[in-house]
Amino acid sequence: MKQSPWLRLIMVLTYIFIFSPIIVVMVMSFNSSQYGTLPFEFSTRWYELLFSSRNLGRATWLSIWFSFLVTCTVSVVGLLTSLGLRRMKPKWAQSFIAWLNLGVVIPWLVLGVALLMIFNFVGLGRSYPGMFLGNCICVLPYVVLLVYPALMALDRNIEYAARTMGASNGRTLFTIVLPGILPALLASSLMAFMVCFNNFVIQYYLAPFGVRTLPMEIYNLVRVGYKPDINALATIMALLSIALVLVVNRLGRGKEGKFLEEL
């Protein structure tokens, strides 16, 4: 079809809208001015300041370890759930997934508050186990939404062949099924990691008193106002996100669009 110049203009403007703030922050992070004003003077002092901050360092490590733990747990649970879903009638599997999606659709504010109340009720309160469980349930839908379709796309005849040839259940799982869905599994783990790593709201409600994850630390910094070392932090994190997106894209090959349409 003939290309309209308006369409092209809208697309360009939209992408500018999405990326100019990130790019501005990246540029500002190398500006020596305290208030982000011009003229531009190159400096890396904000990065030095960032790396000398002990609070941020501790929060970053906590977030990385914590997200790693959540990712490992949820990947296993998500895989088991997807394997189970595959054995169910598709109608039932779809309705289970619809219920699971509540964890994505319901504002995390409401979910976080509800979890805080029930953890208070059973005496867990704000604690690491509570924060762990809360983040798991937010991330689980993402894993199932990526792994379950990949599992359904596998040719089951290969599994049946392996079974007839005498391979045990476990052997079939590890030599046929897992290698077949490995890209989806890795992509979903990365997705889970990032969602958990950035999940401010749930951590804000469920983190133990006095413990601050990286998103909570950033929240406190941003509330104060403009601070050039946040620019440096934002630049590093944005570059990491871009790198991870490229990796996921390599693994998933357009699975992202698929996972969203399932919702």
Binding site: M11, Y15, T81
Partner: protein, 283 residues
């Protein structure tokens, strides 16, 4: 048969257990907790509607809920208006190579911290920032800032949630057979007709999930309005949050959550119905 049944159940157990105990149970218990007055939650506390009466008497819920719904409505509408041409362009106009690049670019915000996205818009809007400096060419005062207003909250929310709408619409758009559009055009349908009679009905599943993914979280957001809303920036989410993090009135907070969930489900239901009706009628 039964053995295989048991195996299925065993596999489902962890996931289903988490769903039950961490989503369905807490949400249903919100209803119970909302009937408890004050802070103490125990089995034998008295139940009453005093929280609801209190909320009614304070009169904050109604205005804030309407304001949040309005902001969510405008954010969702703007996202739809922008996302339709963009997703159409990605799915139908550009070359496959570009398509992949553009999709990767639109996914990047998903992987970036929500707080850093908020922060970067705040940098853009602050006094003497890029936007105000640009506007000062046209005579605006560069030392003023566009921050701490409802508009700033709207812009931040649109910025955060636009990619969701683009992706959901794209996934529906890419499934439309090019020939259908070509046939409609060759039969003499104008651009408007093609959009309303072909593209809109065929993308309505993506549109519906996009609306759910944008409208509900935006209506329930509180971080954006806390950070960039200023003194008049309160949304319903901020009110709920303040009952838990500032004034510690847990029962009232739960009651607010229940009311919020009721209103938002009703509104979403009406929106879904009307879009189904509108798209279906044209088919």
């Amino acid at each position: 048969m039964t053995k295989s049944r048991i195996k299925t159940w065993l596999l489902m157990l962890p996931g289903a257990g988490m769903l039950l105990s961490l989503v369905l149970l807490p949400l249903s218990l919100l209803l119970l907790f909302s009937l408890i007055t004050g802070n103490q939650i125990s089995i034998n506390s008295d139940l009453s509607f005093s929280n609801y009466i209190n909320i009614y008497e304070r009169g904050l819920f109604g205005p804030l809920m309407i304001k949040s719904l309005l902001i969510a409505f405008f954010v969702t509408l703007s996202a739809i208006v922008i996302a339709y041409p963009v997703s159409y362009g990605i799915a139908k106009v550009v070359t496959p190579r570009w398509r992949n690049t553009l999709i990767i670019l639109i996914i990047i915000p998903f992987f970036t911290s929500q707080l850093l996205l908020i922060y970067s818009i705040m940098v853009m809007l602050q006094s003497r920032g890029p936007v105000m400096s640009f506007l000062s060419i046209f005579g605006a005062d560069p030392t003023r800032s566009a921050l701490y207003s409802n508009f700033a909250v709207y812009l931040i929310l649109l910025y955060q949630f636009l990619p969701y709408m683009v992706l959901t619409l794209y996934s529906s758009m890419s499934k439309i057979d090019d020939n259908i559009i070509a046939v409609a055009r060759s039969m003499g349908a104008g651009r408007r007709r093609v959009f309303f009679d072909v593209i809109l009905p065929l993308t309505s599943p993506g549109l519906l999930s996009g609306i759910i993914l944008v409208f509900i979280p935006v209506a329930g957001s509180f971080v954006e309005s806390n950070l960039a809303g200023g003194t008049n920036g309160m949304m319903i989410g901020s009110l709920i949050d303040s009952n838990f993090s500032v004034s510690l009135n847990l029962g009232r907070g739960c009651a607010l959550c229940v009311l919020f969930l009721l209103v938002i489900s009703a509104v979403t239901f009406v929106i879904q119905r009307s879009i189904r009706y509108f798209a279906g009628r044209r088919l």
